[in-house]
């Protein structure tokens, strides 16, 4: 009977035309069902290129749930029921999956192609998967391999530079802090975070164990992300976790690393004597008398400099280690994966055990019961953060500005209070209490898929992401005796928040090939999703300074943001969506997507929106007339797409309503608090932001797939941007959001991968480069200026949140120079050595009207480069990542000497203007009001933050299988790895070029003080790691 199989398979193709054959088929099916015969297939799997055995390949009988995995020597044994028309599937991470029809032979030998640079692998897309060959949109895939071996604390950090136009930035670098993620730049002034889905359910890249990730798809263009409609305008990131495998024997993998983090200080402080001399000079330059006498300076010189306070509050190195254990296997037809991870990152701050710990646990289960496929994933992550009870901003700003003539503790061991500081950062770290976060996250996904026919299946998915976040901040009163300092009130804030985001999806999938060449796939779905956050807080002052408990003098603060009972916020979305794919002869591909969403964030009538997209691809080298080209050069696919996407992520969940907020202590009469209500203006007619996005690109595969090149160009117009447009002060309120803006964003992405072999050396090269440039096209003719230490502008024709200021033009060299130059109106006088500005409007004075748009704070020409080489058991890789163009405006004590009458002055200020040093890098030293001219917003403080950073280096050795095989170890690799080892940048004023004051949007309401240097330093990490599979 087995011998007949190929013929039957052939006949079956025509079964619809031939009732007789159909009857025959059904008879055979019936026969199969009752046959209990078993056969045992054995085989060996090798790498097509290296001919080396591949362990751990998942082998299964298609459609049955029966499977196993290959052993260390690439062999496998699989018992299957005898049957007809059977197909084995082989899949493994890093290799293109293959299917093999079973023949009469029980021996199978198969080779797999490494998939890192082939077009054949499967890519996870919205609500499904697609072969890479058939992709019509712009999707970047990051495989687990690219995350491996990097001593990072979250998957986000490992993604930096891994995919073009996936832009990762950080404005807080403390242990446990989240990074911001951006896809293809900014096209709105609102939230630009992409939608992040873990196995189809909303999740977080900060919480997931990087070791659980199998692949990450970054959906960039409208075609690939429109199926997520309302939330896709900023791109979609799909994380797929590893699956269980039906191994006979449970397979265990361990991976871990341990290493040291070191702070990278870029500011260098001056010696005590240098500080005193420069301070005197600044004072005298400012018309004040010198502070230090020659005698004092001489004595300081003899005594030598004190230690810099930054070195006193930071340890030279702190431990970081990470361990992961995973088991995969099968119990009957149930394939399972169980994994656990532990991360421990100590803080560089001195003090009682500050640091970050994360525990991850995951179980992924799946089974195939005939036509029913069930899967369930459960992940738990717990974050414990212990940090000082203050803000790093304040702590670091004090530590970096105290000159090295003051010790951090006096000779009697008391914490010293230096002038210009009423607190001591070391005291705050050691005696100031503790802020603890303990956050639990539960991520569930359950799905059931039933094959209604061989072409049609229905699937239900339910997922939930539950976060339990707890914070307990206990700030102790610090006794600075014999000095008088602040921090002398104990306070405790305890809050709890529980958010549930749940998601139900019902999907119908259809797939059919007609006449061999017409391949049709369709998807229709319905989803409903909601978010609910319940939170409460208690804030007390004058608590017991040892226990933090309330005591006799304790008061509970009752302000709106102090103490409150449970509050609830929600939003919800109901959606219908669908996709239609058609391909002809694997040469022409068409795709249509749509989604209709209704959101609670808008008033009835403005809630719904329809988001369509179209895309097409043409594998031009598969045309007969290109056969020669394909043979000689390679495979070329052209792609194009257009679609509309939405964004509803504005700060307020209820922006269409006027909101009245009642607080208990708005005012008081006769010492009794009185409730009062303030109001925020709403706008009932707001609706979605919608982005029209076009993309064209190509995928080129050359030299037998060893060289692949992928290119995309995109152009996106976001309309109806929800803006809290500025209003004149006389409006008297913060204006409501309105759909008012239009922003254009365009750019490109190129990714090149190359594999080669020289002798025993296997090399892989990967490089990517991307650009994005946004421009405000329409802002209702209004210009929004945010004036301050840094002035930002939103203006038609310029990028969002551009820097705005005067154009600096060297220094005034002498009095004649001052006399002959336009006079600044905002100061009473300028002196030689002050910054000179350009009179751009040529009206003879320097004033606000001379300001211009001077820089774009968002990174452009972001790039990543990696090179890896294997030689026998050895492997080495380097990964370089950087930004080709970005402006950053630095301000405050980070760069200005004697900012705000403080004592900060650094090595770069030595090269200041004096009559004898006219070509200085820094203007004459001044202090206080005398600095007004030089501290004006100008290009002088605008820096080129382009950089290239040696992000990761690895050197590994895999023990020979012949050796490890004896102790049943499939693979054992040890490696040395380093992170952030070297940075090349032209920004030599002491701040990290990667640092930005912005978070995940260019939102001006949430700026951090990173650009003034008030930031926990970026860490350099050295670690050793171990990976063992057995």
């Amino acid at each position: 009977m087995q011998a007949n199989c190929p013929a039957i398979t052939k006949m079956l193709t025509y079964r619809n035309k031939c009732p007789l054959l159909l009857v025959l088929f059904l008879m055979m099916m019936a026969h199969n069902l009752f046959a209990q015969e078993q056969r045992t297939i054995t085989g060996r799997i090798t790498d097509a290129a290296t001919q080396q055995p591949i362990p751990g390949v998942s082998v299964s009988l298609k459609g049955s749930g029966i499977g196993t995995a290959s052993a260390g020597d690439g062999t496998f044994t699989l018992k299957i029921p005898a049957g007809k028309d059977q197909m084995l599937t082989f899949s493994s991470l890093g290799y293109a999956s293959r299917e093999l029809p079973l023949t009469a032979s029980n021996q199978v030998s198969i080779s797999l192609q490494a998939s890192s640079s082939t077009l054949a692998d499967v890519v996870v897309v919205g609500y499904g998967t697609q072969k890479r060959t058939s992709l019509t949109g712009a999707v970047s895939v990051v495989s687990a391999k690219e995350l491996d071996g990097k001593p990072v604390t979250s998957a986000v950090q490992a993604l930096q530079g891994a995919a073009p136009n996936l832009i990762i930035q950080q404005n807080v670098t403390e242990p446990g802090a989240a990074a911001s993620i951006n896809v293809r730049g900014v096209s709105t002034v609102n939230n630009t975070s992409p939608l992040i889905l873990v196995d189809g359910v909303p999740g977080s890249l900060d919480l997931i164990n990087p070791k659980d990730i199998e692949s990450i798809s970054v959906l960039k263009d409208a075609a690939s992300s429109a199926i997520y409609g309302s939330r896709a305008a900023n791109g979609v990131i799909l994380v797929t976790t590893r699956k269980g495998k039906l191994n006979k024997v449970p397979r265990v993998t361990y991976s871990g690393f341990a290493g040291w983090q070191q702070p990278t200080f870029l500011v260098s402080p001056l010696s005590g004597v240098d500080y005193m001399q420069l301070k005197n000079e600044a004072l005298v330059n400012s018309g004040q008398s010198a502070q230090f006498s020659p005698e004092q300076i001489r004595r300081q010189g003899e005594k030598g400099s004190e230690k810099w306070w930054m070195d006193e509050v930071m340890k030279p190195a702190a431990l970081q280690h990470n361990h992961n254990l995973g088991v995969t296997g099968g119990i009957g037809k149930l394939a399972y994966l169980v994994s656990g991870g532990y991360l421990d990152q100590n803080s560089l701050y001195r003090g009682p055990g500050y640091g970050y710990q994360r525990y991850n646990f995951r179980t992924n289960l799946s089974t195939q019961l005939g036509k029913l496929k069930l899967a369930g994933n459960f992940a738990y992550a717990r974050q414990d953060i212990r940090e000082h009870a203050y803000y790093s901003d304040w702590l670091v700003s004090t530590a970096i500005r105290i000159p090295r003539i003051y010790p951090i503790k006096d000779s009697a061991g008391n914490y010293f209070l230096a002038p210009t500081a009423s607190n001591n950062p070391l005291a705050q770290l050691e005696k100031g209490g503790l802020r603890k976060y303990s956050n639990g996250s539960y991520n569930y996904m359950a799905s059931a898929e039933y094959a209604l026919t061989s072409h049609l299946s229905a699937k239900l998915v339910y997922g939930a992401d539950i976060r339990d976040n707890n914070m307990d901040e206990f700030r102790k009163s610090i006794d600075y005796t014999p000095y008088s300092g602040s921090d002398n009130q104990s306070a405790r804030t305890v809050n709890h928040a529980r958010s549930v985001q749940d998601n139900f999806q019902a999907l119908l999938n259809y797939e059919q090939t007609f006449g061999k060449v017409h391949h049709v796939k369709a998807l229709l779905g319905y989803a409903t999703e909601g978010w609910k956050n319940e939170y409460r807080q208690k804030r007390q002052i004058n608590v017991d300074n040892e226990t933090g408990d309330s005591t006799a003098g304790t008061s509970t603060l009752t302000g709106f943001n102090d103490t409150y009972d449970t509050r609830v916020d929600r939003w919800a979305l109901n959606s219908v969506f669908g996709r239609l794919n058609y391909s002809y002869s694997d040469k022409y591909y068409f795709e249509f997507n749509f989604r209709y969403d209704e959101s609670s964030r808008f008033a009835k009538g403005n809630r719904g929106a329809f988001f369509p997209s179209f895309s097409a691809a043409w594998r031009i080298t598969d045309e007969p007339f290109m056969a020669g080209v394909k043979e000689r050069i390679g495979d070329l696919k052209l792609r194009g797409s257009w679609g509309q996407l939405g964004n509803q992520q504005i700060l307020s969940n209820y922006g269409y309503l006027n909101i009245y907020t009642t607080v208990n202590n708005m005012y008081g009469f006769n010492n009794l608090p009185q409730p009062g209500a303030s109001f925020a203006v709403g706008n009932p007619i707001i609706t979605w932001e919608s982005a029209s996005s076009s993309n064209i690109g190509f995928d080129l595969s050359l030299l037998d797939n060893r060289l692949t090149i992928s290119y995309d160009y995109f152009h996106k117009i976001t309309n109806d941007i929800l803006l809290q447009l500025t209003a004149p002060g006389l409006y008297g309120a913060t204006p409501a959001y309105q759909n008012a803006g239009r922003v254009k964003n365009q750019g490109f992405e190129v990714a090149v991968n190359y594999r080669m072999k020289t002798g025993e050396f296997h090399h892989t090269f990967g490089a990517n480069l991307a650009d994005n440039l946004n421009e405000i096209v329409d802002f209702r003719g209004r210009t929004y200026l945010q004036e301050g230490d840094v002035t930002y502008i939103n203006k038609e024709g310029f990028p969002i949140s551009s820097y705005y200021g005067l154009q600096a033009d060297g220094f005034y060299q002498n009095l004649d120079d001052i006399k002959n130059s336009p006079k600044p109106t905002f100061v009473n006088q300028v002196k030689p050595g002050d910054i000179k500005y350009v009179d751009r409007n040529q009206d003879g004075v320097i004033d606000n009207n001379d300001r211009f748009v001077m820089g774009n704070p968002f990174p452009r020409y972001t790039f990543g480069f990696n090179y890896a080489v294997n030689w026998k058991g050895f492997d080495a890789s380097i990964f370089i990542q950087g930004v080709g163009k970005r402006n950053v405006y630095l301000r405050g004590e980070g760069v200005e000497a004697f900012h705000d009458n403080w004592d900060n002055v650094y090595a770069q200020h030595i090269d200041r203007w004096t009559p004898n040093n006219p070509d200085a890098a820094y203007p004459r030293l001044t202090i206080g009001t005398e600095s007004v001219n030089n501290e004006a917003n100008s290009t002088f403080w605008l820096f080129n933050a382009a950089y290239a950073r040696l992000k990761n280096v690895q050197l590994g050795y895999t023990l020979p299988a012949s050796l490890t095989g004896k102790v049943n170890i499939e693979k054992c690799r040890i490696y040395l790895t380093g992170q952030n080892l070297l940075t090349v940048t032209g920004m030599n004023v002491g701040l990290d070029p990667e640092v930005t004051e912005f978070n995940n949007s260019l939102n001006l309401n949430q700026l951090s003080s990173a650009s003034s240097g008030r930031i926990y330093p970026v860490q350099k990490v050295w670690a050793v790691g171990l990976d063992i599979n057995f």
């Binding site: 026919t453 006027n658 009062g676």
Partner: protein
């Protein structure tokens, strides 16, 4: 096959059918929307309390002092960059100049919001409603008084304007704003209760007296002396506006235990722990404020306090000795200012001596974060403030002494200062302050001063009585003496043979008597042009 298809469709329909849609009409659980808020009987009171809370800023109240020659702001950022303003180095972007404008228009919108919606509030007693409206209209008039004083012509907004309107509305001439303020104050004076007609729990609300006193002050700033006299006489001679009297202890007026005392006419109310300000940290001795001393009294202010015998320190026969400058002085000097050698009771209750001479410790003038003049303020120091100097002490905007001083000034300007007026005003005020020397108290000693001399005396009296009470900056501007007192060096204490030069002030009379309309508003609304002279 068709059966299977049928099954599939049934199943699909079932799946979609069982999936409940999420509800989309969601609102916050802890806030109201405009549909629900005004239905609450408490809504009017709550909205009004919001108006009260935004009537005036404690930061402006204190840092106004450093805009004048009474004090130095030593930081370039504190108080909304008051230091730069005092130095004449500012424009329409300067924090305080831009902020004060929108602060008052925000306050005006709060009042307009209440006035526009109060009719919706169910079950509100008609009398109470009238009173609430009068309180809100008073606060609105107060905002206009401030706006007019700083900016001259300003937009007159009596409704909640739309977003679009805010880009088009122009400025109303100052004279019309003035009339509006006076009319509004007359209207609300008729409605508001007297001080004693409020219950104990309502102490601190705006009274008939407050409205009348504010009107007197508005008129004073206009030099409409006759009208000032008329209002003040009603206060002094009878209970038309309520019963007010001088609190017997000058220093006690500003202490927490004497809040709402007999001379308070209008104040900003604070509540310990629950509604506090943290301003004293900027001006009390560094070791107690534990933050960089942002503001410190000037030598010029110290010098203006007369001797106990009523003579100015530079007057012949004053008995002033530069080496013991604080002996035999106006008792209000010690009550207001802390100098080298002053005694001070800390929050913990320890009595300490404050040393400010160079080299004497953390409060010394040579410490860069301590006072740059060698003086600190004592007035408004609240010993009961918490560890972070958050204080629940009320800040007085108008007190009965001001009625007396306005009366004295108006009478003097009318050439009508006589023994009777003197005794009711300067003498009573000095006696209460602790003067005992008849030389300082008896009108006879001053009868020969002449009008100009008496004017100077009244002005000096006003400066010393009200130091740190947000008066001086407005007085030097209405007296048009700013270009004299705000040009040149501001001094600190004497060190060695000379007085410290703490700051250099610049005041250009062609431009600085009015602040510019904020640059941001000008950028968005060209109808606000032309800007004020010189800007």
């Amino acid at each position: 096959m068709s059966k299977k298809r049928y099954c599939a469709m049934v199943l699909a329909a079932f799946l979609l059918g069982t999936t409940a849609c999420k509800k989309l009409d969601l609102g916050p659980s802890y806030q109201d929307t405009d549909l629900t808020f005004w239905n609450n009987p408490e809504a009017a009171a709550r909205a009004l309390n919001n108006c009260y809370a935004g009537m005036y800023s404690e930061e402006y109240y204190f840092f106004n002092e450093s805009l004048s020659d009474n004090a130095l702001c030593s930081s370039s950022v504190n108080g909304g960059e008051t230091r730069s303003i005092a130095e004449g180095a500012y424009d329409g972007r300067t924090n305080r100049v831009a902020g004060e404008w929108s602060y008052h228009f925000g306050g005006i919108r709060n009042c307009n919001n209440l006035l526009n919606n109060i009719d919706k509030v169910p079950g509100l007693d008609a009398g109470l409603k009238d009173r609430y409206m009068a309180e809100a209209r008073f606060i609105r008039a107060f905002h206009y008084f401030q706006l007019m004083t700083w900016y001259g012509d300003v937009p007159l907004i009596e409704n909640e304007i739309s977003y679009e309107e805010s880009f088009a509305i122009g400025r109303t001439p100052r004279a019309e704003i003035l009339n509006y303020i006076l009319q509004e104050l007359d209207a609300v004076t008729a409605v508001l209760p007297l001080k004693n007609e409020y219950s104990e729990a309502d102490k601190g609300r705006i009274t008939k007296g407050a409205a009348a006193a504010l009107k007197a002050k508005v008129l004073l700033y206009e030099s409409r002396w006759d009208e000032v006299v008329a209002i003040c006489e009603q206060f002094i001679n009878g209970g038309t506006y309520g019963a007010y009297s001088l609190f017997p202890d000058y220093a006690g007026i500003f202490k927490p235990e004497n809040e709402n005392n007999s001379e308070v006419i209008l104040d900003m109310q604070f509540v310990p722990v629950y509604r506090t300000h943290s301003m004293q940290r900027f001006f009390i001795p560094y070791t107690e404020g534990t933050l960089i001393t942002g503001m410190a009294p000037s030598q010029e202010l110290v010098d203006d306090y007369v001797m106990a015998n009523g003579k100015g320190i530079r007057e012949a026969g004053s008995g002033y000795n530069e080496s013991t400058p604080f002996q035999h002085r106006d008792p209000r000097l010690e009550a207001t200012i802390i100098h080298d050698g002053s005694s001070f009771v800390t929050k913990k209750g320890d009595t300490i001596t404050i040393r400010t001479a160079p080299g004497t410790g953390d409060n010394a003038v040579d410490k860069s974060d301590a006072s740059h003049t060698g003086y600190y303020f004592r007035k408004y120091y609240d010993r009961t403030a918490d560890g972070n100097n958050n204080s629940g002490l009320n800040l007085i905007l108008i007190r009965y002494t001001d009625i007396l001083m306005m009366y004295a000034e108006a009478k003097t300007m009318l050439g009508q200062m006589d023994a009777a007026v003197w005794d009711k005003t300067i003498r009573a005020i000095r006696q209460r302050a602790g003067f005992t020397d008849p030389a300082a108290l008896n009108f006879d000693n001053y009868a020969g001063l002449g009008n100009a001399g008496m004017m100077n005396l009244v002005r000096r009296e006003r400066r010393c009585e009200f130091a740190l009470e947000s008066q001086r900056i407005f007085d030097i501007r209405r007296w048009r003496i700013a270009e004299t007192v705000m040009n040149g060096i501001l001094h600190g204490m004497k060190v060695g043979n000379s007085y410290l030069e703490a700051d250099t002030r610049v005041f250009n009379p062609g431009r600085h008597y009015l602040w510019p309309v904020p640059q941001a508003d000008i950028d968005m609304n060209k109808n606000l042009l032309p800007n004020n002279p010189g800007w």
